[in-house]
């Protein structure tokens, strides 16, 4: 079921990572996504792994839940590993597997690439796990603020984002509700020939679109009725503030970056 995938899901908890300013988290994770590609030997990979697992531990989210939630991604990680194992031809032949020669270089490279993949997914999912969608939108709006100078509709974009994020769970609930109602009327979503299963989507999609449009209309009306108008001069309900723990996080993260460049070969 959809609920087993945790990417994009927020898990409330009382941890340092949760309390960090969303801008701090976004900037750190953005940088991390880049520096992962600079790791090129065992110590540097180990260093980044220690950082990622450390950050994951700090979130106070149960490791079992994290690993289970990444289940759909495991497949991709394993696939990447196997692909490299069989395709890369570097170093000495180690053994043969299923008639294919396996090179030492392939083993190392496969391991590195899939570890990199794992770290990327783990760290980026930490962002959404510890930050509410609203915080993320607020942070993106402030981070993109300079683009206003070149007439980029930053506020409108952020508004669109927060509205979509707000309605994702609602739509998921609605999907579940309608598919249950139609299943009770004899629609079979799970078995049967492909053609029938595709046809089974119509009774699900039509009501879903109808209600989504109705909702959008109601929301627009409600916003207008309460006198909503664009970004200029609007004050905020939630003010973001960089405090000492953010500075500490930046310092620690700087040490991670420096360490990486010292360790890499």
């Amino acid at each position: 079921m959809a609920s087993s995938l945790i990417i994009g899901q927020y898990v409330p908890a009382d941890s340092v990572v949760h309390r960090l300013d969303p801008r701090t988290k976004i900037m750190m994770i953005f940088t991390f996504v880049i520096i992962v590609f600079f790791a090129n030997n065992a110590p540097s990979y180990l260093w980044l792994t220690v950082f990622s697992l450390g950050a994951a531990t700090l979130t106070k989210i149960k490791p079992r839940f994290l690993l289970k939630g990444l289940k759909p991604v495991w497949f991709l990680i394993v696939f990447t590993f196997l692909l490299h194992l069989f395709v890369t031809r570097e170093g000495d032949v180690l053994t043969t597997l299923l008639g294919f020669p396996v090179y030492t270089g392939a083993l190392i490279q496969g391991f590195q690439i899939s570890l990199r993949f794992f770290l990327l997914i783990l760290v980026t999912s930490l962002l959404t796990l510890t930050t509410t969608p609203i915080e993320i939108t607020d942070a993106i709006e402030t981070l993109l603020h300079p683009l206003k100078k070149i007439k980029f509709p930053v506020h409108e974009l952020a508004l669109m984002m927060s509205i979509s994020l707000r309605f994702i769970p609602t739509l998921m609930q609605e999907t579940e509700k309608i598919s249950k109602a139609q299943a009770s009327r004899g629609v079979d979503f799970k078995t049967g020939p492909l053609k029938e299963r595709i046809q089974a989507v119509v009774p699900l999609l039509v009501p879903l679109f109808v209600s989504a449009f109705k909702r959008a209309e109601e929301l627009a009306m409600a916003m207008e009725a309460r006198g909503y108008r664009g970004g200029e001069g609007r004050t905020r309900l939630r003010e973001l503030a960089i405090v000492s723990r953010d500075y500490i996080a930046f310092c620690l993260f700087f040490i991670v970056i420096a360490g990486l460049f010292v360790l890499r070969g």
Partner: protein
């Protein structure tokens, strides 16, 4: 069909921070032909319970037996479609499930999925339209052009057209005008008797539960709190209050009557008119 819940528990999102025990060791039996009301405060697990009746949900432990069908954790239920044909469910706000171009097609959708022939369906439609009080002239209109109340009737007709043996109703009249509520409930009651259905009604209206049901189950936080005949259950004001439920108006009235005038009338499902007569008789009887 007889229905039986044996130590049924249901947990949503097992092994996650969002784990929620919605039903806890429920145990009860519903005899074929009974009209059962399920009441409880919001979030007490009523909708979760009824989704076990046609296999939309399975117990996470315990078992549910409906006629020849058995639902049990980690056990594949044979012929679940057959079960869904026998058990018709009218969900909360069923008008959200409408999707066809015409009302006629939408009503025919359910029976068609269960393999009823076009002639059979055509033969059923006029009777059903009459039952839910919809005009035949509407048949070729789009369901989306109707008023909310009419849409509700079309959705209900779509379930009735499957001619189920068990009818499950999740707050079927929520959000309708009082007149429409009464009409629809009376229609279900009539069908229940005419067709010998087993009816399970989830409701927030104690008056409806008292009036229509011959058995009441009260849920509280996923557990069975009380179970029995409505006339026995609904006089227990203190116990009902504990789970934020009210005594039905009729019984409240009789209680007040006893307190103020010292007149004791035993409630045994008399109609309001009969009650009025009894009171008139007693008052005019000139003690």
């Amino acid at each position: 069909m007889d229905i039986s819940f044996k130590q049924v528990s249901h947990t949503y999102q097992v092994n996650s921070p969002f784990e929620y025990h919605a039903l806890k060791s429920l145990d009860f039996d519903i005899k074929s032909g009974q009209f059962v009301a399920i009441v409880g405060h919001t979030g007490s697990g009523k909708s979760t319970l009824i989704q076990h009746l046609n296999g939309l949900l399975k117990p996470t432990s315990g078992e549910v037996v409906i006629g020849d069908y058995r639902l049990k954790a980690d056990e594949k239920t044979a012929n679940i479609k057959g079960l869904r044909e026998k058990v018709g469910v009218v969900f909360q706000y069923p008008e959200h499930q409408l999707f066809e171009e015409t009302i006629e097609k939408d009503i025919a959708f359910g029976p068609k999925n269960f393999g009823a022939s076009d002639e059979t369906i055509q033969a059923r439609i006029p009777k059903i339209l009459e039952a839910v009080n919809l005009d035949v002239a509407l048949l070729n209109r789009s369901p989306f052009d109707l008023s909310g109340g009419q849409m509700r009737r079309v959705a209900i007709a779509g379930v009735l057209a499957m001619e189920p043996d068990v009818l499950v109703l999740d707050e079927p009249t929520a959000g309708l005008d009082p007149r429409g509520q009464q009409e629809i409930m009376d229609m279900f009651y009539k069908l229940h008797h005419e067709k010998g259905l087993t009816t399970i009604l989830v409701t927030h209206s104690m008056e409806d539960a008292l009036k229509y049901a011959d058995h009441v189950i009260i849920l509280e936080q996923g557990k069975k709190y009380l179970e029995g005949k409505p006339e026995d259950i609904f006089v227990q004001q203190a116990r009902l209050k504990q789970v934020q439920l009210d005594v039905p108006e009729e019984i409240q009235f009789l209680m007040d009557l006893e307190k103020r005038l010292g007149m004791t009338i035993h409630y045994e499902k008399q109609s309001v008119d009969d009650l009025a007569d009894t009171i008139k008789h007693r008052l005019g009887g000139g003690q």
